[in-house]
């Protein structure tokens, strides 16, 4: 037998894509714990369900596409999509909403484009946007109120299962309500900031427990940056842009959602560290990442403030996904030995 003649390099670092995906999924655990603690079992059940659906639909579509199933399931990308969707969907969303969102995310927005790495749009957010526009009732009424707000323990496990799988939505009536972002946006139109806070929905708590969720996701995100899984560019740009917009246009608490609610409520931190940073669909140059992140931050503020939806991470991210290839083409870094960066598309010959 001859010698092995492989081309250099002959050594490889310890990193792998499966590991990267797994670490991202694990970094959501603080957020998942916070959500479960504050909103009950719903989120955990959603995550498990979404993961199961994601893996099942991935396996099914891989079989149809005649691709090696276990090889691709091991890349953990479907699992991560499931985790992110489970975290993003309302805790009391019926099982079929989760199933539709997840399977659509895997089959249509990922595998039909060629699988991992080839999808132009963030699969989890495509799935989310689909159910958001298709089932607006379920998507706006199935949010849980935090134990902090209700002052009572969260709904029991069996009841939660019954709400999600058996359609016994009435069981959740006492535990569900509009999210703070939603409530504030509607109430502030008719009253002042102090009045809004005094209302039963807020019970004096501006973020209604969501701040803990967001802080938990922030912690997970910082861990990802420290582990060099993601870079700081997109989250920092996105949160800075959101802050700046809020300070410039929405500084009046009696008219617009206040900054603290923007930053620490809804899916802000989940979006900034886990959704917007999806490398496949984001911009990839350092400068491009800053522009991409800032774009999401601005769109997030615009849609939350003047749009019809209370939260807007999905739409903001999807809109910027469109722009990512274009941003990349015009934000090449300067290469060693060049006096300036070469940007733009190559001239047609």
């Amino acid at each position: 037998m001859g010698l092995l003649t492989l081309s250099s390099p002959h050594t490889h670092g310890p990193n792998s894509t499966s590991k990267v995906m797994a670490i991202v999924a694990l970094a959501t655990v603080p957020g998942l714990i916070a959500m479960t603690a504050l909103f009950g079992w719903g989120t955990l059940i959603n995550v498990v369900l979404a993961c199961a659906v994601a893996l099942a639909s991935e396996a099914a579509i891989l079989l149809l596409r005649k691709r090696p199933v276990s090889f691709f399931l091991k890349d953990n990308s479907a699992l991560l999509t499931g985790v992110l969707l489970g975290l993003a969907l309302p805790p009391f969303a019926p099982f079929w909403v989760t199933a539709v969102a997840t399977s659509f995310a895997i089959v249509f927005s990922k595998q039909l484009y060629g699988g991992m790495g080839n999808n132009p749009f963030n699969p989890a957010m495509v799935g989310y946007a689909l159910v958001l526009v298709s089932f607006p009732v379920q998507m706006t009424t199935a949010w849980a109120l935090s134990t902090q707000m209700t002052g009572a323990p969260a709904m029991g496990f069996a009841d939660t299962l019954s709400v999600i799988f058996a359609g016994n939505a009435h069981l959740a009536d006492a535990f569900s309500g509009a999210t703070p972002l939603d409530a504030y946006k509607h109430l502030i139109a008719k009253s002042t900031s102090d009045d809004v806070l005094a209302q039963a929905t807020f019970n004096g708590w501006l973020n209604g427990g969501w701040e803990w969720v967001n802080i938990a996701f922030l912690v997970g995100g910082v861990l990802l940056i420290l582990r060099r899984i993601i870079t700081w560019h997109i989250p920092v740009a996105m949160l800075s842009a959101l802050t700046l917009c809020s300070l410039m246009f929405g500084w009046d608490e009696d008219m617009y959602t206040p900054l603290s609610l923007h930053l620490l409520s809804g899916a802000t931190m989940l979006g900034a560290f886990f959704i917007a940073t999806d490398p496949v669909t984001a911009s990839t140059t350092p400068l491009g990442k800053l522009i991409y992140g800032a774009g999401i931050g601005i769109l997030l503020f615009v849609i939350r403030t003047w749009g019809a939806y209370p939260d807007a991470v999905a739409f903001a991210v999807l809109l910027m996904n469109f722009a990512a290839p274009f941003i990349d083409a015009y934000t090449q870094p300067r290469t060693y030995g060049h006096s300036k960066a070469r940007r733009g598309l190559p001239e047609k010959k």
Partner: protein, 739 residues
């Protein structure tokens, strides 16, 4: 260190496991004298050396066995004494796996030196001042020194800096690749040689300071160098700089950035920013060449990896077989055998072990599979950008990968793919285990091929367009002439009618002109024969199988040419005679008839006009060939003259009233043959021109000879074109006459 050096950093870089301790535990050992040494003639960048020994020759250690060929080349010397066993193609350590010409020496074991001496007995700074840099560079070249860091660029070429003002000399002792310790051990054990080499280099390039960059994972080497600096009292010009350990800090561009903060311009060389960079091993070799007069015949090479029992560094003769060295180090063959020449990041896996160590070989790495696992199956790129964070050239490897894979080479070029140094940092960090560097190598190769093809196509296009333009021009000229003739013919027809009406009938043609016609016919036949012979000769020249017939054709050609000359003479004589006869006759005719429309006079008129036309045509051809701007004027004149000729001819023929046409016109076939010949000649000229251009581009000496060839072919082409014009005119006349 006496001077504070502010360090800079380059983008990215990686920290792979160093694995250097295995081979630094024992001092550099001599590898001894193998029974057979294989010395490739091409161990460096540039032209291969040319052997100056023959099989069977006895050679001594250090004897020149192959001399440099051209400027970018270095000579080759015998690493030990022995006999030249063969000069034949052998497998060489090159990624292509191809064979190249090698000189094989069977050693005699005596290791007997040829008499040799350096440029100065004991080298120090004072002595150095007596030797000119030019002398030193020439000496370095004659000692066969080529960059020992890996690229193998002839050192003398790199030191030939011309007018560049060099401010800094950098010695590269970074040795950032894992496993390799050849430079480390050399610096530890022969620091004085490195430092003295630096002194020589400083003198050659005229730099004010020298920085020796060493990664801080080699503290012993740094100490040794500093001690050597003290020994030669050179602390003020030369600094040993400890740089942070990070791959690829030993890349020339990266090291320059670290030590000076400056960047070598893309596509440029360090000298353009006043820096010369040399490997520490090269520096030591330069010292040995200058003081001891030893050519580069051996080098330090690391043999390491878990497959060898005694990892370490060996001082091995150039040409030592890899298998010999491995055996020396206690090599255990693995199930999946893999031996890498160079390091794990940029080295290449040897296709076999019967390969020689060459001047650039710094390491033999024989890893076990456990030690350096084979790459997993690549997964999809998720554009995570870890590669661009690691890229020392600040590229976007993830984008380059997509462009290379989808063959969007214009975009790859736009993303500066040619600034990639193929260090492998991107592949190392890629979580999807994509063999990125292979993709870039493929893309670079494809782009180079594409460029070459494009240049060729562009040349062909220009050639085609030029030819098309010329054809169009000729066509237009012909058309214009034809029109003019048609008009003239019409006019003549009318005149003829008028003449017929006047009832003027011409008499018989004179005998002298009949004689002339016969000769003319013979001449035409001879010319046709000549053309045919020429054709055959050309065909024979083009076709090798007919080469033996060339002399016969050439003889035939000479014969026909003689005949043509003879006939031409005869014609001239006949013409004279005819003229004399006519001169005598017209007097009579004039008195007899006094008729200006007599056939004789008309014929003379026609002939004179024809003669003028021919001269004018010749002038036109000349003007065209020389690109004069009189071409148009000449053309107009010719058209007019053509009219006159036609007129005169028509008048004469009218006068003869239905007599047979005078000159035998060339047939359509003959014209076609002539045209084909011209086309063939055109191709020949173009091919010649192409060869000339290529030779010129490559700077070959044959360019001048080829230029002369081109001129010769062009002359021939012109001659043919004249022939064609004449023949066409004849044919046209014949047609007009017939009509």
């Amino acid at each position: 260190m006496t001077n504070m050096i502010r360090l800079h950093t380059f983008n990215g870089g990686i920290h792979p496991a160093e694995n250097k301790d295995q081979s630094t535990s024992r001092p550099i050992a001599s590898a001894g004298i193998p029974s057979e040494l294989v010395l490739p003639l091409h161990q460096h960048i540039g032209a291969a050396a040319q052997p100056v020994v023959a099989v069977g020759d006895k050679v001594l250690k250090g004897q020149l066995i192959a001399e440099a060929e051209g400027f970018v080349s270095v000579p080759l010397h015998a690493p030990t004494s022995g006999t030249i066993a063969a000069i034949e193609p052998r497998a060489v350590p090159h990624a292509s796996g191809l064979e190249e010409l090698c000189i094989v020496i069977r050693s005699d074991g005596a290791d007997e030196w040829i008499t040799h001496q350096g440029l100065c007995q004991t080298l120090n700074v004072e002595h150095l001042q007596d030797i000119t840099p030019r002398q030193l560079v020439e000496h370095i070249r004659s000692c066969g020194i080529a960059g020992m860091g890996g690229a193998g660029f002839p050192t003398s070429v790199k030191l030939n800096i011309g007018k560049q003002d060099i401010h800094t000399l950098i010695l590269n002792g970074a040795e950032c690749e894992p496993y390799i310790t050849a430079d480390d051990m050399l610096m530890r054990e022969r620091a004085i040689e490195v430092v003295k080499g630096a002194q020589i280099l400083l003198h050659i390039v005229g730099a004010k300071r020298c920085l020796i960059g060493v990664e801080d994972n080699k503290p012993q080497a740094i100490d040794a160098l500093n001690a050597a600096l003290v020994e030669v009292n050179e602390q003020h010009h030369i600094d040993v700089v400890a740089i942070p350990t990070k791959y690829p800090s030993g890349g020339e561009k990266q090291l320059i950035k670290i030590l000076t903060g400056e960047e070598v311009p893309s596509g440029g060389i360090p000298a353009s920013i006043g820096i010369v960079c040399q490997n520490v091993g090269t520096s030591a070799a330069i010292y040995r060449a200058v003081e001891l007069g030893e050519p580069l015949i051996s080098r330090v090479i690391t043999v390491t990896g878990d497959s060898v029992a005694r990892a370490g560094n060996y001082d091995a003769m150039i040409g030592t077989p890899v298998s010999y060295l491995l055996q020396l180090a206690g090599y255990q063959q693995q199930k999946r055998e893999r031996v890498i020449m160079g390091g794990p990041m940029m080295g290449f896996a040897l296709p076999q072990l019967e390969l020689p160590v060459i001047k650039t070989s710094n390491c033999l790495l024989a890893p076990t599979e456990k030690e350096l696992p084979l790459n997993d199956v690549a997964m999809a790129c998720i554009r995570c950008g870890m590669c661009s964070e690691a890229c020392p050239a600040e590229l976007l490897p993830q984008q380059l990968y997509w462009f290379s894979k989808s063959q969007e080479f214009d975009k790859a070029e736009q993303h500066n793919i040619f600034d990639c140094i193929e260090c492998g940092a991107c592949s190392y960090v890629c979580p999807s285990h994509i063999p990125l560097v292979q993709y870039y190598r493929y893309a670079k190769g494809a782009i180079r091929d594409e460029r070459a093809a494009q240049a060729k196509a562009e040349k062909a296009r220009l050639r085609f367009e030029e030819r098309q333009a010329r054809k169009d021009r000729e066509e237009a000229e012909k058309e214009a002439r034809r029109k003019a003739r048609a008009e003239a013919a019409e006019k003549a027809q009318q005149e003829k009618k008028a003449a017929a009406a006047s009832g003027d009938v011409a008499t018989a043609a004179p005998a002298a002109s009949e004689e002339l016609e016969k000769l003319q016919k013979k001449l035409d036949a001879a010319q046709t024969a000549k053309a045919k012979t020429q054709d055959k000769l050309d065909a024979a020249k083009a076709d090798e199988s007919m080469a033996d017939k060339i002399p016969a054709f050439e003889a035939a050609l000479v014969k026909t040419q003689d005949k043509i000359k003879e006939l031409a003479k005869e014609i001239a004589a006949a013409k004279k005679a005819a003229k004399a006869a006519q001169a005598a006759e017209p007097a009579a005719t004039a008195t007899d008839k006094g008729d200006p429309n007599s056939p004789e006079r008309l014929k003379r008129k026609w002939e004179t006009a024809q003669g003028r036309l021919d001269t004018a045509l010749k002038r036109l051809e000349q003007a065209k060939a020389e690109g004069l701007d009189t071409v148009d004027a000449l053309q107009a004149g010719i058209d007019k003259q053509q009219e006159r000729v036609d007129e005169a001819k028509a008048a004469y023929e009218a006068a003869l009233s239905g007599d047979a046409p005078a000159a035998p016109a060339p047939s359509a076939e003959e014209l076609d043959a002539l045209r084909k010949k011209i086309l063939a000649q055109e191709d020949r000229v173009q091919k010649m021109q192409e060869r000339h251009d290529m030779a010129k581009a490559d700077g070959l000496d044959t360019a001048d000879a080829l230029a002369m060839g081109v001129q010769k072919q062009l002359d021939k082409l012109q001659q043919l074109q004249q022939e064609l014009t004449a023949a066409e005119a004849l044919a046209a006349n014949a047609n007009n006459g017939a009509s």
